[in-house]
Symmetry: D3
Subunit: 286 residues, 6 copies
């Protein structure tokens, strides 16, 4: 259950309108690695979490904070869209908006009346398929750490794409929080191991004796890049401490598959007598 | 540039047909964390990689191996779909297929003529949006490690959903390779740090002096779960070794936003005189 | 900015597991008219709202309440998925789950580890395209009223699809709140008119003198259903009080279009001499 | 069953090419609230309608008319794409097209050879998910009224984004028809009530005695906006005439949920002894 | 411009309800190769066609007929959904519906009130991305012929999945029309060549002298299947009569690409000194 | 099973950067008719093919070659994105990039760090729904021929949209290979007929005696275009040699459908007494 206050967690006020940058900011609102993803993902992981205690509490706390970031970015985009020019003629454009005219998102004025929407910078709507909640906290926290890295990376790039002091100030806030959240998930991963709840390989509960021979420690080299086997992943003791890495080229362990004929009620191309086809091929190649 | 051999990397032959399980196997073929994702993702990261050497070579080697896994799973699904019953009456069903009849994917017979397709177990087509290639190897390798964890988790669950020895054998192979690949990406992450190429927080090149005060080390607690601040992420030295964690409740640093009036050419609801609205509210509440 | 409390707004506890019904409940969580839509939509309309005051405050209050409904339904689905059977053999099934086995969502165990996800009952992920925030409150409140009607309708149908007392209790709560919310948006529509902010036709600010003749009051009958013109929409004074309805069959006011030839650099099929084509046609028809 | 005549319902001829505006016009062709949506939606509602008579006849008549609007907009877009410049150098551009060069849709020339397609202004393909046909006419007519409002709003905005007289003329036609159609659906809603077929709350057939206490008349205020409870929706007699509104802050009626442990065959993070976790937290916080 | 008549082009009446088959029939309504695709595709190709005359007239005639098929299938699905059971208990089920209970589409009752929708048999909504209209009639007619083949194939498979005489009768009608339409597009392809409008390779207007050497007549064999080069495509005179086929294995004509370093403002992993990396690799491999 | 070599099949090096053209090139990488589609489609058709021999071998050979084209286009896009300007001010732009600034894809820098991704030129991610593998080789080879025509058409259009010699050189390679592949599939279609495996109408195995009367040879004219019936498709002997074409206007063979009342548990609008509704209509029309 949530309560809301109108005050923003951090200021979201540009020094001037910029519809081009408004479009770009949509990426960190409604893109794959935007705030909609982390907010709804941490909440879902928290609600689904069957282990009561600090991890569940953490997920719900951070997911709730991220909702405030969604709110801030929406507000920033709204303000960047003030005075959006509707036509390309000069008289209709403010000085600030002129430069970026060519790149604004036409749905901003037509569909949203100069407001934000849940889409990325190319107009793809945000989708629940961006959210992962597997029920295995280790796998999910690893994903959460990734999300904060991809997110901070994108905001840091946006930081280099504007000179507006107000925009840059809010971006600095987001970059800083993503800094913290990266560390938080990395610590949570370590703590899961220390608490004896999970470990590499994930899921740890699957018995290693059921694995296939030494393929859990073998680098298979299927490409001719000369340095692929020169990293630690192909030399020395394994990450899980239970094996030693080796390397080998890709090779088959099974023959080429021969599928049975298709069901005629599904109207596949029928199988022909192999000899007939071979003879035809031989005749052709004479 | 690729070459192909018809022989399979590992056998993909069930002991009997099972159209229900064929549907479930689609998840690790065309689902978010299936083989299509890792194959095309590692290749794209490799091709896009602007740093020549071991990391680029590694990505292209593993991406190429994953293509062989796509091939194996497609072949397995094809064979599980042999003798798929077309109607629910008993005479039309093999013993093996009968139990799972209710859950098969109707597109398998209608659209694909008893063959696999690039979709997940609920019929969502695979999408390029599953693929991440950011140009920052640390962020991407973290994602790759996640992918191998989510992938191994799903295959291990499927392992518990069938008794077919042939299917279980191939699943064991996939579980084993995902074991190796998890370790591989975790080692590659460590090696990126050792090579001085990247570190936490990602991207490391963004100057920390541009961040906002101590918010890079502060846990903000926005929920009433009592244990959220009891983990290492809220106590002691920070993961990056440059700060000390603290915790505090969520709090505003900015006033509630007041947006300017909308552009009348976009036909928004106009702003009214605030006094008028307030008076109306007062009259109403009398 | 939000804060969260772990207590639920209303109890979400079934009397027994039912993975089949868990799948069906996804419709009102992540479907087009589910709680994800209304929660994120009301919040977005509120944040984007450029008119300060009661309407903006209302939107943010209700959007925040709807987040609590998302939480309740996620929790209910989690509990319905307890003890989900992994295989179709009898020994593996609880009595409660047996009946519905055939219809469960295979992603629930494989992808989410027996947890909810942001998808509908057919597995389509929730998408930001479900959300409308046009900047015109009248158009949007009309949509909000629709959303509450479609939503209540779906929950009322689900109410007829289960006998579980715990599930039915929570559904009654949702049906009741949708009852209130329908009335709320209908009143808000009336109040927008009373406040002089908007009216029919929406947007009212577009000058009616720019419309085309009497086509704003004319029913055009393009089908042979005999009663189409027998309703009020084709007889008597118009809804906006500014015209009188009439009816007429569909008729053209413009000639068939003749498009200019395509740009040869785009490789269209070239235009031929019309006489040549006509002669060919005549020869053919001889 | 349909028949088609090549003549257009209304002229669709611009005074000059404008590939930028062609892209924008796609919004009202293939966007969520474009003509594809209303045409296919009214037809589907009509075909699905199990109540013979005026409503079914109306739906099929209007759906058929909307197909003519799809045709007109496609034709307009085709003509706006005449002489589309393929490269950014000046010699290749007509005067008319020059201004808008930067915003055209690259798929128009590459994929469609300077023709329209079923997408919106950001290139999202039209989808059947935009269409609602619930079988409850009241809920659906409310949605239809919304669609005509959102549609008229978008066309009115487009009207302010061009100076081309031919384009503006066709837009005026569409604005006028949307004026009529808004009224038509609002009248149809009233008539459904007068005919005793449906009423608020929708669906009316669900027994109000099964609702939860007075929550059908209670405004729950979950945000700190001061005016949220100052509207009619929180004061006075209810819209359905069966209650009186009251307001109260959001509050829990259920404890925080505790989920049972996950199924170990799905490899969740296992539940730990609560005392152990609490002790660890205490040690940490010392 | 269209007119509609309520009478169906062909009877669409099953002998009994069958919600399972209703779900399957959705494939040929809203699937990739269903009637929605061909109806809207032929119309769009016709409207976009810049060559007046028989081809444009043909496209609009057939597209209009296909709308009648959409109507028939919707009606059939509606009738198959009569008496759909809402719960799995026996008392609630008609004899006809019982067998297929396990496979019905839960959105049919929950979302559509026992009516059809624009989706395929797995619940994916129909999308405008299924429609191709390239402006080159030869390429598009080839696609149209494909669509009629895939469509007839799917309906013929459905024919084998039901014993209902009424359903089978309508399927026979669809199979028959797809028979005609296949021939129609194949004739139209021939006629385009005879009219001198297009030929192989498409587009014919691109000058062959701009192609690369003899690669227009060379089979490149990248796989070890022994018979790949035994067909006419690798032997004898070419299809376009302008060359002779040959075969060769895949081979590179360019070195491995070395990309320049990434832009540091985008925070890529930086390029390292190649010597340093090589030395590290050597040390590792010692 | 695949192996990879870093060398490219053909050079992919532009003479200068051009982020605008990089966006356009995405169409033939990740668009509906791009290289991702043909590569993954031919491989899937090959793996699913239940007929061993030349067709299966051909599919796997060509699918493997197409993977090399994916690699080439990715590499080209990467190089076109070198030095992408991050802001619209002149000092930040290279001369080459300046012209196209307005059209670049903002995700290229923000999401991909100046790298390619699996999307089309409007940012829609590539989807497995683009891939068809029906199990009927004739239907699928017809689609493959279409794919090569649409593909060559798009590349030929791109050829007219750039002056960069390096880009044009690679495009010429792609155009040439599509030339070959068109012929290849057309020959394979002929060979399927010669081998007695399939013929028109597809699927040939469906008994023509089960079709409906002469509707397999009848052109039904539903539009008023005067020349629609003047082609070979409406005159003379049929393509399959088994009938003679005739033409007739569209006409109904079934009455208008009357659906039974809806299930009241799904809350449809109830059916009313027809007499009551008729009387109301009469009263209204007085």
């Amino acid at each position: 259950m949530f309560t809301h206050t109108h005050a923003l967690q951090y200021e979201a006020k540009p020094d001037g309108p910029d519809p081009d940058f408004a479009r770009k900011m949509q990426e960190v609102l409604g893109g794959q690695w935007g705030e909609m993803t982390v907010a709804t993902q941490y909440l879902l992981q928290g609600w689904n979490c069957r282990l009561p205690g600090k991890y569940k509490d953490l997920l719900l706390a951070i997911g709730t904070e991220e909702l405030a970031h969604v709110e801030m970015i929406v507000t920033m985009i709204d303000r960047l869209l003030d005075h959006i020019p509707l036509k390309p003629d000069a008289a209709d454009r403010t000085k600030e908006a002129a430069a970026g005219y060519g790149q604004h998102n036409p749905q901003h004025p037509i569909v949203n009346g100069a407001g934000a929407s849940y889409m990325d910078s190319m107009g793809n709507p945000w989708t629940g398929a961006y959210v992962t909640a597997s029920g295995n906290l280790y796998a999910d926290f690893m994903y959460n750490a990734t999300a904060e890295m991809q997110g901070r990376l994108q905001v840091a790039r946006l930081y280099n794409m504007t000179d507006d002091p107000g925009v840059k100030d809010m971006l600095r806030f987001l970059i800083t929080r993503d800094h913290y959240h990266q560390q938080q998930w990395l610590h949570a991963l370590e703590e899961l191991k220390e608490d004896g709840l999970e470990g590499v390989p994930v899921p740890e509960a699957f018995p290693l004796s059921d694995e296939v021979a030494d393929l859990g420690y073998t680098f298979i080299d299927a490409s001719d890049g000369p340095l692929a086997a020169s990293g630690r992943w192909a030399n020395g003791p394994s990450y899980d401490g239970r094996g030693t890495y080796s390397a080998r080229p890709i090779e088959a362990t099974a023959d080429a598959p021969i599928l049975p004929p298709g069901d005629p009620r599904l109207y596949p191309t029928p199988q022909q007598d192999a000899q007939t086809m071979l003879q035809k091929a031989k005749d052709m190649l004479k």
